[in-house]
Amino acid sequence: MTTRPTPMTHEEAVDLAPLYVLDALDEADMAAVREHLATCPEPHAEFEELGGVVPYLLDDPATELVDPPAALGERIMAAAAADLAERTGPAAERTTPPPVASAPAPAPIPFPSADERTASAERTRGRTSPLEWAFRIAAVVVVAVLIGWNLLLTRQVSDLQQQANAAGQYRTAVTEVLDVAAQPGSQTALLAPQQPGGPRGIAAVASDGSVQFAMQDLAPTSGTQVYETWAILPGSNPVPLGSFQVDASGTASFTSKQGPTGPGMAVAVSREPQSGATAPTEVVSVGVTATPSS
């Protein structure tokens, strides 16, 4: 919805009076005029003058008179009865004073106040039969079951949504790896978990020695915990390439700093208590690079 930055002036409100009385302003202008009328102390004869005409448009003979379907009345009455039951309790207990034929037309009777409704409800409870109590208890049980079921469904939907989000993030990460892998002189590696169900992924080593990682099924990190990436040349010590943290999605897209490259190089991911590790503490996923076939 568009909003007006400042309150409407009296002149602006009067200018919009013809459209306001016909309900032909957008919601922002309607609200601004309404607010002006509620707060402006000046008279608003224009509104009364023009607004007084509007009810007669309801009798415009150009409106073709059409009877509604019979079922509509039944639906309205059924909805009103349900509303009444909800408002006042069982309809059978509601008492309506009998009309007095000779009495003058009564003034509109307002709905009972909150206190009156509370008192009425307490009187009604005092007359509740055991059978009605049984129905009420059953209704409460049904409502509780429905609420529990709804919570369960909500949680399942939330889990599925989270899985879908993680899958989307991983797809994006893999696309970034493939972009690097498509460059001349790059190498790729499929990273396999060191434990069943552990993290896995794919990495591409660029010709400059930087590595693009796409990982999934990583346990989320907390505190200072990080995942460290490594380049391991045959016969050499692992070289740290940089670290990253992981949220609840368990996925990661990471571009490392430049490191060594060479035939048979492996890349690995380890879990570390903090960043700055010089040797891997717990390798969770590793793969050996290969040059993509052209």
């Binding site: 302003l25 023009l50 003979p61 009345g73």
Partner: protein, 199 residues
């Protein structure tokens, strides 16, 4: 209309208003048979107005149901000084129909879910003495006195559910011209209706 006719018409209208207020008082007291009575009295007008605005039978049914249930729940808010029960009820129908049309239109700004009462409900009816003395033919005669562009602007606004900007787009007229046409049209209608009532 002769004085005698006007007097009789006024008596009939006044009697109808009294009866309507009686029914509405019972509606506010939660009497379902009173709601049925109110529905029987105004169902055709309510549905016809909703159908004219929405041009959709199913949507018009929803509008009428929504309006009568709104009246059922808010009957106690009716204030006699603001007009007849008929005007109050049919204004609710009109407002809900316009809301429904705008919600269906994807390019239109949606009204708030709990829309405030329409202007007709918040403004006093300034000619209570006129109210009962006009029939549909006289209203038709008053509308016929408007210029074509005035009548078009008012009809697009009131029965088309269009906002002033949409009317300007539809007619190709500047926004100021649209406001001017509606204003002058309503004033001309007022003069014509007052003249009819006096005559």
């Amino acid at each position: 209309m002769t004085d005698r006719d006007a007097e009789l018409s006024g008596r009939v209208a006044s009697s109808t208003d009294d009866a309507d207020r009686d029914v509405l008082a019972r509606v506010s007291n939660g009497e379902l048979d009173a709601l049925q009575e109110l529905y029987d009295r105004y169902r055709t007008m309510a549905y016809s107005i909703a159908l004219r605005i929405t041009a959709d039978a199913s949507l018009a049914e929803d509008v009428v149901q929504d309006a009568f249930l709104g009246a059922w729940r808010n009957a106690a808010r009716y204030a006699e000084a603001r007009g007849s029960v008929k005007t109050w009820l049919l204004s609710i129908v009109h407002h809900r129909a316009v809301d429904a049309v705008r919600r269906r239109r994807p390019t239109t700004e949606l009204p708030e879910a709990e829309a405030p009462p329409p202007p007709a409900l918040t403004l006093p009816d300034i000619w209570p003495e006129v109210a009962g003395n006009l029939d549909r033919a006289e209203i038709a005669a008053a509308l016929a006195r408007l210029s074509d562009v005035q009548r078009e602007a008012i009809e697009l606004a009131y029965f088309g559910g269009l906002t002033q900007v949409e009317i300007a787009d539809r007619t190709g007229a500047p926004l100021g011209t649209v406001k001017s046409r509606v204003r002058l049209g309503l004033l001309a209608l007022r003069d014509a209706l007052t003249g009819e009532a006096v005559s």
